[in-house]
């Protein structure tokens, strides 16, 4: 859990309004995973699926209550570890990530920080392998477009 935890919180943060909500979702999802893990074919994929469901449920129940605070809360704390040298860059990347469509952002988080494979991602999102891979490619293209002003690739 200590190894997967940070990526899981980041993953849950996509549907959570505050960092505390994301942590609650991870806790709830992990407990659900722990109780039913024997039925999982792929434990890591199943853990992410449990956290995703918990975060979605929690997000739905709290959405109305927190709607007004949402924008403020997102800015209140970065989801990444602070790095003074590249603070500005990190802020741009977070902003670019938040602009991605939800399904693409989800794939990026699982692939980059969760270190999941495309078959695992496809299982969690209940889509084909090709769809998961194409969502990832599209997400990277969108991210690059969003960051284009300040990045000089090639």
């Amino acid at each position: 859990m200590r190894q997967r935890g940070p990526a899981l919180v980041l993953f849950a943060r996509q549907w959570s309004i505050t960092p505390a909500d994301a942590e609650d979702a991870v806790q709830s999802g992990f407990v659900q995973f722990w109780k039913t893990r024997r039925r999982a074919r792929d434990e890591i994929a199943y853990l992410y699926a449990c956290v995703r469901t918990a975060a979605l449920d929690l997000g739905r129940s709290q959405h109305r209550r927190h709607h007004r605070q949402q924008a403020a809360a997102r800015d209140e704390a970065s989801v990444f570890q602070p790095n003074l040298e590249r603070a500005e860059r990190r802020k741009h990347i977070e902003s670019a990530l938040n602009q991605l469509p939800a399904d693409q952002r989800e794939v990026v988080v699982m692939k980059i920080w969760g270190e999941l494979t495309f078959p695992q991602i496809a299982e969690i999102q209940k889509v084909s392998l090709n769809t998961a891979a194409s969502r990832y490619r599209l997400a990277l293209q969108h991210l690059m477009a969003n960051l284009a002003e300040e990045m000089s690739y090639e």
Binding site: G5, P6, V9, V26, Q27, F30
Partner: protein, 106 residues
């Protein structure tokens, strides 16, 4: 395009998500510790318990029945069903038969 994708992936991967808060780690640990065992485990443990109980009952029955049948010194000896004939009984029978032979019926 692939090269720029790779660069972006490397840059994204260089950003590390925040560490788990100590509070969350403790909450998860406590929750998983108190989480009850799954039903499959309960059924397995119940079956093992019942099997052990059945084995104990069988061993108890065998031990008890063995102690009754193999006791070499019973506290209450069994009474004989029939008494052996005594010496005087034979002479009385013979005398009775002799009388019968001396007085034939008319």
């Amino acid at each position: 395009m692939n090269d720029s994708n790779d660069k972006l992936e490397i840059e994204l991967a260089a950003l590390r998500p925040r560490q788990l808060s100590a509070d969350l780690a403790q909450r998860i640990e406590a929750a998983t510790r108190t989480t009850s065992r799954p039903w499959s485990d309960r059924i397995l443990f119940f079956a093992m318990g019942m099997g052990s109980l059945a084995a104990c009952v069988i061993v108890g029955i065998l031990t008890f029945s063995g102690s009754v049948s193999t006791d070499p010194h019973p506290t209450h000896p069994l009474q004989p069903i029939a008494t052996a004939p005594m010496l005087g009984s034979y002479s009385l029978i013979l005398a009775h038969n002799d009388d019968a032979g001396m007085n034939p019926a008319p």
